[in-house]
């Protein structure tokens, strides 16, 4: 159950990051003037690692 939730949040945050990264490329400052996208990126990396660890544990079992 938890692994499924983490997996979903990871995918959503990854999509969120790419959408707003693309917007920042289209109009410089659209995101970065108001919000630090690196915070989302950090979340994506942490969730990605958690996702990977959980999946590895499940495979080992």
């Amino acid at each position: 159950m938890i692994s499924k939730v983490i997996n979903r949040i990871f995918i959503f945050s990854l999509i969120f990051f790419f959408v707003f990264f693309a917007l920042e490329l289209v109009k410089e400052g659209f995101v970065s003037n108001y919000f630090d996208l690196n915070i989302v990126l950090a979340g994506v990396i942490i969730l990605g690692l958690l996702n990977l660890i959980i999946k590895c544990c499940h495979t080992e079992r």
Partner: protein, 192 residues
């Protein structure tokens, strides 16, 4: 999965709407500042580095000495603005020529410079407040280049330091009569 997908779409749309509201600047002003302690996205650090001394810090105050002239900084402008009120905290104890101003035409050596003169004191620092009329200033890019000129600084080797730069961009508040014009000027920053 369908429900989750809709939540994601709504979150993205809400975040987009919030950012668009901020970036379109429906109000009459937009603030940007750089305090030399931490980097900000709205006003860049001074450049080029070989004309500047390293950043200095004392307690919560940061500053940078200018070693040669001119030096530049870029300020992000999400919308087109009519005026800019620039506040500069500086030290110029020997009163040498010291000016700042925006670039008039992109990629050309045309600047609208004004003298940085002390209006008030804040501790050891002098404060200058300058009003710039931005009519006929190139604003189709996402940022505006500014120049700080101190032509005598290299020769005289006297102290000249800047501790804070803040810009209050001003324009007419969004209303029905200027809606079309403001949308056009906003789009011009995306489609150049």
């Amino acid at each position: 999965m369908k429900f989750e997908k809709w939540i994601l779409i709504i979150i993205i749309l809400l975040a987009f709407g919030w950012l668009f509201y901020l970036d379109f600047v429906p109000g009459d002003s937009f603030m940007a500042s750089y305090d030399f302690c931490s980097a900000t996205s709205r006003v860049t650090e001074l450049s080029p580095g070989n004309r500047l001394w390293p950043l200095e810090k004392n307690n919560n105050e940061c500053w940078q000495r200018i070693g040669d002239s001119p030096v530049y900084f870029d300020a992000r402008t999400p919308q087109k603005f009519e005026r800019a009120v620039v506040t500069i905290k500086f030290k110029n104890p020997f009163g040498q020529k010291f000016q700042v101003g925006p670039q008039v035409v992109k990629d050309e050596w045309q600047w609208r410079l004004q003298d940085i003169a002390e209006i008030k004191k804040e501790g050891e620092w002098s404060v200058a407040i300058l009003n710039f009329d931005l009519e006929n200033i190139y604003q189709n890019a996402n940022h505006m280049r500014w120049l700080i000129s101190a032509p005598e600084v290299l020769e005289k080797k006297e102290l000249l330091a800047v501790s804070e730069i803040s810009i209050r961009w001003e324009k007419e508040k969004l209303n029905f009569s200027n809606l079309g014009e403001q949308i056009k000027s906003y789009l011009r920053k995306i489609i150049r």
